[in-house]
Symmetry: C2
């Protein structure tokens, strides 16, 4: 049991998810049960809120409103893309010290976990007593050590539901459809599109993830084969697909690029990749009705499309983070294990260095050997994460009427 | 009461909606109550299924499965963009005659209603006894004589929920966001984005509909003003926005165009307009984080986001179409009236010529005088159409902590 008296600070970093507020609320409600916690602060706009001393006092928030915010997508405490260096962290400490912050919980993905690692190292170097715990969150589902990450299930549900609708749409007015899904390096979210399939000829018929080199000639051959068979083709493509040399297709096809503060190429917020792929299909296969949608920000925080299981687990990782810090008096990263495939979870705390700044990719046995689809292993893995009451599509089974004129 | 004995034929045309199957099922179940109906056929792929004699026998479909299909988005009987001319209609009659079809119900939008008009005129000229009724459907909400159209409410709900999420996302990681919404000539669906707003500073802050000429300079000035005030800007733009001369902005900005079989410029299935607008904002206002999403096909058939009221009304227009044909023995187009703003509906049958091939636009009192937003009149009009249990976003109300270092 930690006897360290002081304040709790919780913050959110990186891209928002549907359930990230659950984790903050999990921290806030659980931390209030410990008498050594003198207050629970929330930093506004992540680490930037710490250096700028922008805190709100969650101890003076009602439980009802916390619960309402927990049910609201995106980051209630707002977010940041800032990536702290040594100097940045030194400034964070100064603020933490004057406010007597002794417990730091940061909800985020790869970049945010690396921030926790740096902060933790600096705290140790400065001999400042601080429990620093990373709470996992990412729709990309790409944090090491985790079976899956909070935020993924709800985004996966959105992607799967979107492809269910798109598949029905593309059946009604036949053509080729390309849906571009988020996922820079990991294909989990794009792979979730496959959960849309019910009938054997349902789309998506082809799924391309960044874990496999993208080859335009093979892609066109795949599309041609499906189109010849069904008279239509529905395709899911990860925004991060790259060629054999690792060059993102968007860079290759456009010849230009835009980078964010972390040096990442801009993939979302533009329909360019989808448009470039549809153009190559139109030209390469001489097809007319070829359309694309880029799911962009819609898949990340769409209100009303949530996995209840995802929300529950996001709450639990917040609670567990506090429990690890208080009862066990340790630092690290909370991870989700899955001892039973269908379905239970355990929460563990692992050293932050196992998670920080690393990327988990889809394992080989989740990807179809042809590199253009997923396996049953992936479907079994993904199904419970989508939550309960997952919608289904239905088809008419009315018998065909015998032709009289054209018999 | 019609004593005409023969078969009922029902078909779906144009773009799918979330609730179009409700109308088909309404026709099928209601028609079965009349002894003069010898069978209920469904045409596969709309009018094309008629000329090609592709029918299924809905009389041999179970009620349970009809109900399941009714709850499934998109066109269960599949659709077509074919626009029948005189010759096409002659071929349709031939098929109708040999199958003894005496009641024709076509669920669709502007183009489909025009098809019903042509078929009806040809039937009269050929002295072939046929009841032909148009059943309204369009997410664009642009059919004349209707207060609103089945399909709009569910698509409007999708657009509003999407903007609720996008608004939260854009608050967390501040920037400029452009969401491009369907609607070639009518701005109703784009205007529905305004239903996402709850707090006074919520987005969308700017809404542009095709009913007002789009001026890039004024647009940039609007964005600049909002961005200066809030440090962010969320924008809803109709895919069909055009300049003062009526040239679509997408044509103007790209310099090229693609047309479908009806001579319509391709607006959906490409992220081009969104990308062009973000580029003009980046360049014109020297802003860095500018993103766009094109809602495309996602907004039309997204499974799991449905207005229950929309579904009920789509069922009722199908039922009413059969009742008008059988009890009143008349042709025409079923329309929805709203005698009570909040909220009741009446169904009437009007001459098809009042609806066919015409486009209803947003009335002036729905559009803000600055041409970049909607009015309370529109909000009051739209609210009941979104259905029950419309989600809400919530914000933290925790008090701000006094600064110590930066005071």
């Amino acid at each position: 049991m930690s006897r360290l008296e002081g304040k709790v600070l919780v913050a959110q970093g990186g891209g928002p998810t549907h359930v990230i507020n659950q984790s903050v609320v999990g921290v806030a409600l659980e931390a209030r049960k410990f008498s050594q916690v003198t207050a629970v602060y929330g930093a506004v706009h992540g680490v930037r809120g710490i250096v700028e001393e922008d805190f709100v006092d969650l101890t003076r928030e009602t439980t009802h409103n916390l619960e309402q915010v927990a049910d609201t997508p995106s980051s209630g405490l707002l977010s940041t893309r800032d990536k702290p260096d040594e100097d940045y962290c030194a400034r964070m400490f100064k603020v933490m010290q004057v406010h007597d912050i002794r417990y730091f919980f940061y909800v985020g993905g790869n970049d945010s976990s690396d921030t926790v690692r740096i902060v933790n190292e600096q705290a140790k170097a400065a001999k400042y007593e601080l429990r620093a715990i990373h709470i996992p969150k990412t729709i990309d589902n790409d944090l090491m050590e985790n079976d899956h990450c909070p935020g993924f299930g709800s985004a996966a549900r959105y992607v799967a539901q979107a492809f269910m609708g798109v598949n029905l749409d593309n059946r009604a007015l036949k053509g080729v459809y390309v849906g571009v899904v988020m996922g820079r390096h990991a294909g989990f979210l794009t792979a979730a599109s496959a959960m849309a399939r019910k009938y054997v000829d349902d789309g998506p018929h082809l799924v391309y993830v960044p874990e496999r080199a993208f080859d335009t000639d093979k892609f066109l051959a795949d599309v041609d084969r499906v189109y010849s068979q069904f008279g239509l083709c529905t395709i899911a493509v990860s925004e991060g697909i790259s060629d054999a040399k690792g060059t993102p297709m968007i860079t290759k096809l456009m010849g230009v690029e835009e980078r964010d503060d972390h040096g990442n190429v801009q993939l979302s917020g533009t329909g360019a990749l989808g448009d470039l792929l549809t153009q190559s299909i139109k030209k390469g296969l001489n097809l007319k009705r070829v359309r694309s949608d880029t799911f962009g920000y819609l898949q990340r925080s769409f209100i009303g499309c949530r996995s209840d299981r995802d929300a529950q687990e996001a709450r639990e990782v917040g609670e567990k983070a506090v429990q690890f810090a208080m009862w066990d008096d340790v630092d690290g990263s909370v991870v989700i294990r899955r001892p039973v495939l269908n379905y239970s979870v355990d929460y563990e705390l692992v050293p932050i260095t196992l998670v920080a700044g690393k990327t988990r990719h889809m394992p080989d046995h989740f990807i179809h050997e042809d590199g253009n689809g997923v396996t049953d292993d992936f479907r079994n893995y993904c199904r419970p994460l989508l939550g309960s009451n997952f919608p289904q599509s239905h088809r008419l089974r009315a018998p065909i009427v015998s032709k009289i004129l054209h018999k």
